[in-house]
């Protein structure tokens, strides 16, 4: 049986983890490669790097970082942030990313995503959707790190992304992100039920019940979290043990 994935996400700026990662035995808490190695050892199912100030100039840093991480971590790695073209995808895949996520560029021009999925295969193209509730039952897409409203309805956009050939949707609720109050379960459920590709729930995890709910109520195929893992509140193993007890199928080692 396919297992629900637990994915720690590292926000990276200029090649350093922002917000910090607070593992006991890390020599350098700001080094994403060290953090990645630790998560690999801990049995994370995948890892996500989000380049939060992706600009043309610092791209080289990201490529180098992805390369150094891929050398040491034998688990899937998704990289996102500032991805605009098939050329960006190619460079990130070459550096060692397994999946590349499009965000603003997918909204600006969905054909960019179609082209990349065609060239590299659906399995490595992710649509990262940042959505915010506009009114009950309607969510709209925000781009540029959640700063720009587009007026585009999120569930329909997720379906469009599936049609354009993406292999997965990384769905972040801008309302929940950073609140530690849990995922937007209604949004997650709506999107998960509307597409036949896997949906990764993101934004708002503050405890292990939230991870369980993302799956049991939200219908997510994977759950992404940052701070609860980075600050050592919960280990990957604790999260998996807890989910297993709640009846969620997870990979335990």
């Amino acid at each position: 049986m396919l297992k629900i994935r637990i994915i720690p996400c590292l926000d990276v700026k200029d090649g350093r983890v922002v917000k910090g990662v607070n593992f006991v035995d890390l020599v350098d808490a700001g080094d994403p490669v060290e953090a990645a190695k630790e998560y690999d050892r801990a049995g994370a199912d995948e890892l996500c790097f989000l380049d939060i100030n992706a600009t043309h100039e610092n791209r080289g840093i990201t490529y180098d970082l992805v390369r150094r991480t891929a050398e040491q971590c034998f688990m899937p790695l998704t990289v996102g942030g500032g991805v605009r073209s098939s050329g960006d995808v190619r460079a990130l895949l070459k550096a060692g990313a397994d999946k590349v996520s499009f965000n603003s560029a997918a909204v600006a021009n969905p054909e960019t995503v179609a082209e990349a999925a065609n060239l590299f295969g659906s399995q490595c193209i992710v649509a990262a959707i940042d959505a915010k509730a506009a009114r009950p039952g309607r969510w709209e897409i925000f781009t540029h790190g959640g700063r720009r409203s587009t007026g585009i309805e999120a569930v329909g956009f997720a379906k469009l992304m599936e049609k354009k050939g993406v292999g997965e949707i990384l769905l972040t609720s801008m309302d929940s992100d950073g609140t530690r109050n849990g995922f937007d379960l209604e949004l997650t459920r709506k999107v998960a039920d509307s597409v036949s590709i896997p949906v990764v729930a993101s934004g708002g995890v503050g405890n292990l019940d939230h991870l369980v709910e993302g799956v049991s109520k939200g219908g997510a195929s994977a759950v992404l979290a940052a701070s609860i893992f980075h600050f050592g509140e919960y280990s990957i193993r604790e999260a998996k043990d807890y989910m297993a007890l709640a009846g969620i199928p997870v990979r335990q080692q």
């Binding site: 049986m1 396919l2 688990m75 899937p76 550096a95 036949s196 195929s221």
Partner: protein, 212 residues
């Protein structure tokens, strides 16, 4: 002669190379190289064929490199060196791929590559993530790997074997899926050993030690 990972521009070979290099140190197997040079492939001591994307574009990528398919066939079919196909690299072993039209495979293991057709809508496609292996046959490449161990999969098509004894391991995602196939000096895994943490590294180590 080194182990050669065949480079035909099918995605990321970096992590595969690193995984093989790491395990080659363990086995004392020496050099691992990434190459698209037919001469290197024809002389390799072991051949690894990765593959991501569509069946047809992988086949085309191989054909577009002069002499590459011939070099592969020479090593694997005539010299009989150990061969490992990964993901679409395994699917190419079949007679035919049915993804976006029909594309012939190598025909080294009888079967065809067909869409995963899960019974029940709760099975998402692609089949993406960690799934349990059921070991169907003992094989040196699966030494130390047992049923219930997890491997990382990401694919929408499956190898429909026409020869049940070639299926070394299977998994389940709404229907039975061949997780590994093998015949003689040839093995293929639908999952990604280079992304499957301990299990994957173990399989790579076994492959590097394998003398069919």
């Amino acid at each position: 002669m080194p182990t050669v990972i065949v480079d035909y521009d099918s995605g990321n070979l970096h992590s595969a190379l690193k995984a093989f290099q790491r395990m080659a140190v363990e086995t004392g197997d020496g050099e691992v190289a990434v190459s698209s040079d037919p001469d290197s492939i024809a002389k390799a001591s072991r051949v690894v064929l990765p593959g991501v994307g569509a069946f047809g574009s992988c086949r085309e990528g191989l054909e577009n490199r002069d002499g590459l398919l011939e070099a592969l066939a020479h090593s694997v079919r005539i010299r009989g060196v150990p061969f490992l196909g990964i993901c679409v690299g395994m699917q190419l072993l079949a007679d035919m791929g049915r993804e976006h039209g029909d594309t012939p495979g190598f025909g080294w293991i009888p079967g065809e590559v067909v869409p995963i057709n899960p019974r029940g809508s709760r099975f998402k496609i692609p089949h993406m993530g960690w799934n349990e292996l059921a070991i169907e046959r003992t094989h040196p490449v699966f030494d130390g790997i047992i049923s219930g161990d997890h491997a990382f999969f990401v694919h929408s098509y499956r190898f429909d074997s026409k020869c049940p004894e070639s299926v070394l391991a299977s998994t389940f995602h709404g229907e039975a899926i061949a997780a590994a196939v093998g015949a003689g000096n040839i093995v293929g895994t639908q999952f990604h050993p280079e992304k499957s943490q301990h299990l994957g590294l173990r399989l790579i180590e076994n492959f590097l030690r394998w003398t069919p």
